[in-house]
């Protein structure tokens, strides 16, 4: 069946993997109930019905109205291989949720479970857009570089050179849709600005990007990440994830370091603490805004949102909300049309 991605009765239908996450199913169900208070969303909690009914009862919500239960007796545990989704547990909660997106029964999939298992479910049961090999995670750099996004942030640790092309297209769509940049400048993150710098995959990716017709401005180095030279910084998921976590850690370390330096000057120390408290959420790389947890898997033929495993109910509710907004914003359709233009030789 085709992915219809049709919003029914003005409500976006989100299939929630109720068994994925460190605090599943309790916090997932609570978060879903919170999210369902909005008028434009309908939730399908996927997991063992008896267990989910008990959790819903704790929230004083019965299975009905705009929170429904969809049966999946199995789920992927943290110590299991993500690939098991395909061969051993094709009817686990995340796989069933993915199949609902594929069949058109849901508009989006949301999971706080194993990222690998979610990505594999998306690839196998929803499918990739034409020309895309694997999904990618895109994130905005926030206040320090408000007009810059990075991709991939960790979905693809080992990459083939042509994956960088689809990363560039995904980043461009993100920059256009969420940052309102008309013609985003794309750069490749490397160890030097020259074409010959970087490992073999990066050098091959450079050649592909250079001849792609995209708005490719060449290589940038780590020191250029925040200076605005590029709107879309392309790298493999290994590098992207290291940069992401380092970047997100800067605020906390800078605060500790500053407070230690000012320990003999209590008024200045208090002032510094106040400044850090108000300023340094800025170092969080975001999905679309700071309040949202996790990110969209770009390149999948349907909206798939991955949440942090440690998400609590409030973050789950925010994540479901952002999955809903992604459906409404038509991110999959935008990606499809950019890919089509690119495949036809037009400029993305």
């Amino acid at each position: 069946m085709e992915n219809k991605n049709t919003v029914q009765n003005g409500r976006v239908r989100v299939a929630v993997d109720a068994m994925g996450g460190d605090y599943a199913p309790e916090e997932i169900v609570k978060g879903a109930v919170l999210a369902a208070k909005k008028e434009d969303v309908e939730i399908f909690l996927v997991g063992p019905p008896k267990l989910l009914q008990q959790e819903l009862a704790k929230c004083k919500v019965s299975n009905g109205s705009y929170v429904h239960i969809v049966e999946a007796s199995e789920f992927i545990k943290e110590n299991e291989s993500p690939v098991d989704v395909i061969r051993r547990k094709p009817n686990c909660s995340v796989a069933v949720a993915a199949k609902m997106v594929k069949s058109g029964e849901a508009d989006a999939l949301y999971s706080a479970g194993s990222s690998g298992a979610v990505a594999i479910s998306a690839i196998q049961f929803i499918g990739m857009l034409d020309g895309v090999y694997r999904p990618a995670l895109v994130g905005s750099l926030g206040s320090f570089a408000p007009d810059t996004v990075m991709v991939d942030l960790g979905a693809n640790v080992d990459c083939k050179p042509d994956q960088f092309l689809t990363f560039a297209i995904a980043g461009s769509v993100y920059a256009k849709r969420f940052l309102n940049i008309a013609d985003p400048k794309i750069a490749l993150l490397s160890t030097g600005s020259e074409e010959t710098k970087g490992n073999q995959v990066v050098r091959e990716a450079y050649s592909l990007l250079k001849s792609s017709g995209l708005n490719f401005v060449g290589n940038i180095e780590g020191g250029d990440i925040l200076n605005g030279r590029a709107n879309v910084i392309v790298c493999d998921g290994f590098v992207g994830n290291v940069v992401l976590k380092f970047y997100e850690s800067i605020g906390g370390y800078a605060q500790v370091w500053t407070e230690q330096k000012l320990r003999k000057h209590p008024p200045l120390r208090a002032l510094a603490r106040l400044l850090f408290k108000s300023l340094f959420p800025a170092t969080k790389i975001s999905g679309e805004t700071e309040k949202q947890s996790g990110g969209i898997l770009w390149g999948v033929d349907g909206v798939v949102k991955i949440a942090h495993g440690a998400s609590r109910a409030r973050q789950i509710a925010n994540g479901i909300e952002s999955a809903k907004e992604a459906v409404k914003a038509g991110v999959v359709e935008s990606m499809k049309s950019e890919l089509a233009r690119f495949n036809q030789g037009g400029k993305s």
């Binding site: 690939v83 395909i86 061969r87 594999i120 690839i123 080992d158 042509d162």
Partner: protein, 81 residues
């Protein structure tokens, strides 16, 4: 199309390598197939030929030739063209 060509098509489509580089001696590593590619190929082959390939058998494949020979051995005689 014979079994070998069909499996080659499946593998080339999933890994997005040029079909011509796949030989019976090619290892999955040589054709840059990661664990997900291999599992997707196994599922696609199972669906195409209507057979089941247990993990313990799949783990013994050293190269593409082993994969093809195994599938051929599981098919009724008339389908092994």
């Amino acid at each position: 199309m014979n079994v070998e060509e069909q499996i080659k098509d499946i593998l080339a489509r999933i890994t997005r390598v040029d079909k011509s580089i796949i030989t019976r001696q090619s290892t999955f590593k040589e054709i840059k197939a990661d664990s997900l590619d291999v599992v997707q190929a196994l599922v696609a082959v199972e669906e195409t030929f209507g057979i089941e390939i247990p993990d313990e058998d799949a783990q013994k494949f050293q190269n593409f030739g082993d994969f093809v020979s195994y599938v051929e051995s599981r098919l009724p005689q008339k389908e092994k063209v």
